[in-house]
């Protein structure tokens, strides 16, 4: 304890508006990288690089990028809901079965009963919400561990799927649903030549440019606001480097997609979900509550946080996202089948943990979970491109999951021993 500070000036009047502390406006060195936070993105870049080399560049071909996105979209959507649940310190084992049952409901409504597709999708989303509410009630208000409730849900909703479908696949779906899960934006503005890269869709390119501009502007404004509050920010070169890097990745993906078949609709949906949920977790009161509950449940209770209601709503949210994933999955196969969504819960959970969620809760990011899902997607895709048998794919995914969590535990232990 330093004795240089006289205790007498160590006090306050509550809510003092005057004399704001000059919070040392400084510039963070920028080169110091928080390994625990950014490790996942570095790992993702390395894995992409590895498979690009192994596949002689086939991984990053226009059609393949599109495939990776479309084939993994439902897992990525599930991982967004799952990360919220894991941050809160819970788990959801039922999402695979919920994907199946919501897909089945959508199919029965549209195919058997001829309900118009917008209404059918709305009913399906509501069904997903009700399923989430059912599980949320038992977990939050009745106090049964989520592991048990959702394990039961896994069986219940699989049984319900079989009942609804009458043990057979139902299809085909209306075109609108198939377009959402499998289709691409139209070439509204025609093509444009990109020199050696050939023709590309102008509309998609414009979307890409708008996205880049959006990233640059919001980042700049957030930096300016922080400066206004005399907070530490990245220096201009580091800031520019980050923005340019992000812009390059976005533009690369968009250009490749524009050269193939324009933007997949699921990518548009996914981008909107990632953006929206990132905002909720970072900036919304609701999102902050989730972290507070997962970080220290007792402290959250004693801070007046309505823990039960928060837990209830994140399970409702999971139900809705499962329904979206269920529609997309069924639409992609053009059929709702009894085995749909098998083991999706495991992929979604793995994505969240690879993406940096902590086993004890309280830590995790939406972008991290989606990146975790993409890592598994790239491994799947890359290994099948080089013709690896499926058992080896499974082996690698298992090792990656274990390694990711081991890394998390290791950094935490190191941090704990360096503090006192």
């Amino acid at each position: 304890m330093s004795s240089s500070t006289s205790p007498s000036d160590a006090a306050l009047a509550s809510g003092a508006k005057d004399a704001p502390a000059p919070g040392t406006p400084g510039r963070s060195s920028g080169l110091s990288i928080n390994v625990r936070q950014s490790g996942i993105y570095i790992a993702f870049a390395l894995i992409v690089l590895l498979f690009t080399v192994l596949t002689d560049g086939a991984l990053l071909q226009p059609q393949n990028i599109s495939n990776i996105i479309v084939q993994n979209s439902y897992i990525l959507i599930l991982s967004i809901g799952m990360i919220l649940i894991i941050i809160a310190g819970h788990i959801d084992l039922s999402v695979g079965s919920v994907v199946a049952v919501t897909g089945a409901i959508a199919a029965v409504l549209m195919v058997n009963y001829g309900v118009p597709w917008p209404l059918a999708l709305l009913i399906t989303l509501i069904a997903g919400a009700l399923i989430g509410a059912w599980q949320g009630y038992w977990i939050a208000y009745f106090g049964i561990p989520a592991f048990i409730v959702t394990l039961a849900g896994m069986l219940l909703f699989r049984a319900l799927t079989l009942t609804v479908l009458g043990n057979q696949g139902i299809g085909p779906f209306p075109d609108a649903v198939r377009t959402l899960s499998n289709g691409f934006t139209d070439g509204y503005l025609g093509n444009i030549g990109l020199g050696p890269l050939g023709g590309a869709d102008l509309f998609s390119l414009l979307i890409g440019i708008v996205a880049v501009a959006g990233v640059a502007i919001t980042q700049w404004r957030s930096r300016a606001a922080r400066l206004g509050y005399r907070q530490a920010v990245d220096s201009i070169p580091v800031f520019l480097l980050k923005v340019v890097l992000a812009a390059a990745v976005i533009l690369f993906v968009v250009v490749q997609l524009a050269r193939f078949k324009n933007l997949p609709w699921v990518l548009v949906l996914l981008a909107a979900l990632v953006l929206g949920y990132s905002l909720v977790t970072n900036r919304a009161v609701f999102g902050r509550r989730i972290y507070a509950i997962g970080g220290n449940l007792q402290a959250a209770l004693l801070s007046g946080i309505k823990v039960k209601s928060v837990i209830f709503w994140i399970f409702v949210n999971m139900g809705v996202l499962s329904a979206i994933a269920g529609i997309i999955f069924a639409g992609r196969l053009n059929q709702a089948g009894p085995t749909a969504g098998n083991s999706f819960e495991l992929d979604a959970i793995a994505a969240a943990f690879i993406g940096g969620a902590a086993v004890q809760g309280g830590v995790g990011k939406v972008v991290g979970a989606v990146t975790g899902g993409l890592i598994m997607g790239v491994i799947n895709n890359g290994m099948s491109l080089i013709g690896a048998p499926s058992e080896r794919v499974m082996l690698v995914k298992g090792v990656v999951l274990l390694a990711a969590v081991a890394f998390d535990v290791w950094t935490k232990r190191r941090a704990a021993s360096s503090s006192r």
Binding site: M1, S2, S3, T5, P7, S8, D9, A10, A11, L12, A13, S14, G15, A16, P20, A21, G23, T24, A225, R226, G228, Y229, Q231, A232, N282, R283, A284, V285, F286, R288, R289, Y291, A292, G295, N296, Q298, A299, A300, L301, L302, S303, G304, I305, K306, A358, G362, V363, A415, S419, R420
Partner: protein, 509 residues
């Protein structure tokens, strides 16, 4: 030269920022019952943990010799091997296992790797007989009362061929009858040649059973009294425990006491685990604006339970009584309602109940009043940073920035974050439970200064503390709580440690 079975010489044990024990000496004669007395936090439990190897050799300074041989225990198994067995205040029994299984837990009676249940149960029955417990050894622990569980612990110690038995507050949770039985048992064990060290707050008990008493205060040995002289009285022990010298450890403060802020009438709280047991009964209490009120009481007196039951009924069931805020009746049935009524409670265990240790300072500061920083459900995190940074500088929270993780701060700085969190809720009544527990003297002074400033800004403050000098130095008025009842109220001018200690131990016999 007396025949000492145990000698501890110059024991010093330091935790980060705190000297828990400083040059402590303890000699225990063979075959006696030796009591260790001292206030909460005087270092009694720490000393026993050093002795039993919970804190291994090398983590403390000083020498221990047992039976004339030097001891360097690296864990609790080492000390048990030598016949030193400690029974903690919180019993370490496995509730779903049988009595016999618990007695031989970790010491299973096995032949060729398979447990011999007949031998286990037969030997358990013999041990139960020795401690006078008439129960079937196959009975499940959760089916017998706390008093009997205590006897099982002793039987377990006997099964390890105990030579020095250490009991930490053995009768704290027992009723009079069970306590009496336990004390008789200890006398019986003494006659069998087993030496006992007993830590107890109940001075009448200590007077009744001990052959000698060692008094600790602030981590130092004060004196060892021999009961055989017949000159030792309870007052004599209290005087040793509380000491005389009060240094200038408190910032000067002129209170400006205003109107009534919070009044509690006929407040009764029942235990959520033990049916029908009132933990707090019929408490009346008044807190005024600008006044710092102390709440004294021994461990188990119901201080935290009282505070938490007021704070949104976070403890207890079957709570009855009335709350008045500035004269008008209020309800605080949940933490939210309590906060809305301007009541805040800063917990005694900041790591478990107060802070999200994996989050940074600013998110902890805002946790209980996040809506103040939000519009339509969206948090202004720049504003959050500014608020937290104001507290950081005004409260002198030593951290590189408010984005520092609270888990890495020192205890004193963590406590300041907890205080900032509750001040930010705009509370008018702050209940501070052990606000200086586990923090060093310099940081304590800072916390006292903050508390004084809060009072000067018109807040009503209730300080719960186990350290009587702290209450005397800080508070304008002190309530004493004993066994869930207010047994005394002392104004600053009339307060002495002896007087408060007498109130605190009233009705414990």
């Amino acid at each position: 030269m007396t025949d000492d079975i145990l000698r501890m010489r110059g024991i010093t044990k330091t935790f980060p920022g705190v000297k828990a024990l400083q040059d402590v000496n303890l000699s225990v004669r063979r075959g006696e019952i030796h009591a260790i007395c001292g206030e909460n936090g005087a270092g009694k439990s720490t000393l026993m943990k050093v002795l039993s190897g919970v804190y291994p050799h090398g983590s403390y300074e000083g020498e221990i010799s047992f039976d004339g041989e030097p001891c360097r225990f690296s864990d609790i198994r080492d000390s048990e091997h030598r016949g030193i067995v400690i029974i903690h205040q919180e019993l370490a029994l496995s509730p779903q296992l049988s009595i016999a299984e618990n007695i031989f837990l970790g010491n299973e009676q096995a032949t060729r790797g398979l447990i011999d249940w007949n031998r286990t149960n037969a030997e358990a029955a013999a041990l139960l007989d020795r401690v006078g417990l008439r129960e079937n050894p196959v009975t499940t622990i959760s089916d017998i009362g706390v008093g009997k569980q205590q006897l099982v612990e002793i039987a377990k110690a006997l099964s390890k061929k105990v030579r020095l038995l250490i009991l930490d507050e053995p009768t704290a949770a027992l009723n009079d009858e069970d306590s009496e039985h336990l004390l008789d048992l200890l006398r019986g064990l003494r006659d069998e040649g087993i030496t006992c060290v007993i830590i107890s707050h109940k001075l009448n008990e200590v007077m009744a059973i001990a052959d000698s008493i060692t008094i600790l205060r602030d981590g130092r040995t004060i004196e060892t009294l021999d009961m055989a002289t017949g000159e030792v009285t309870e007052d004599r022990i209290i005087a040793g425990m509380v000491g005389r010298a009060l240094e200038n450890r408190f910032p000067p403060h002129e209170p400006q006491i205003g109107e009534e802020a919070l009044r509690i009438e006929d407040w009764t709280v029942h235990s959520p685990t033990q049916r029908g047991r009132a933990v707090v009964s019929g408490v009346n209490m008044t807190l005024r604006k600008g006044e710092i009120v102390g709440l004294a009481g021994l461990m188990g007196a119901g201080r935290t339970e009282l505070a938490m039951s007021i704070f949104g009924r976070t403890y207890g069931t079957n709570i009855s009584g009335r709350l008045f805020k500035e004269g008008r009746p209020i309800e605080a049935r949940s933490v939210r309602e309590a906060i809305q009524n301007g009541i805040a409670y800063a917990t005694e265990d900041r790591k478990r109940y107060g802070l999200n240790l994996i989050e940074d300072i600013k998110r902890n500061v805002s946790a209980a009043a996040l809506s103040k920083l939000a519009r339509r459900g969206w948090v202004n995190d720049n504003e959050e940073f500014r608020v937290a940074d104001e507290y950081r500088s005004s409260m002198n929270i030593k951290a590189p920035s408010v984005s520092s993780v609270t888990g890495k701060l020192s205890g004193g700085n963590q406590q300041k974050v907890v205080l900032a969190k509750w001040i930010f809720t705009d509370a008018d009544v702050l209940i501070l439970d052990e606000p200086t527990r586990g923090i060093d003297v310099g940081a304590k002074y800072e916390i006292y200064t903050i508390i004084n400033r809060l009072a000067d800004s018109g807040k009503a403050i209730l300080v719960i503390s186990s350290e009587l000098p702290e209450l005397l130095g800080l508070c304008d008025r002190i309530y004493a709580l004993s066994a869930g009842r207010i047994t005394g109220e002392v104004q600053r001018g009339d307060a002495t440690q002896e007087r408060i200690m007498q109130y605190m131990t009233k009705g414990l016999d």
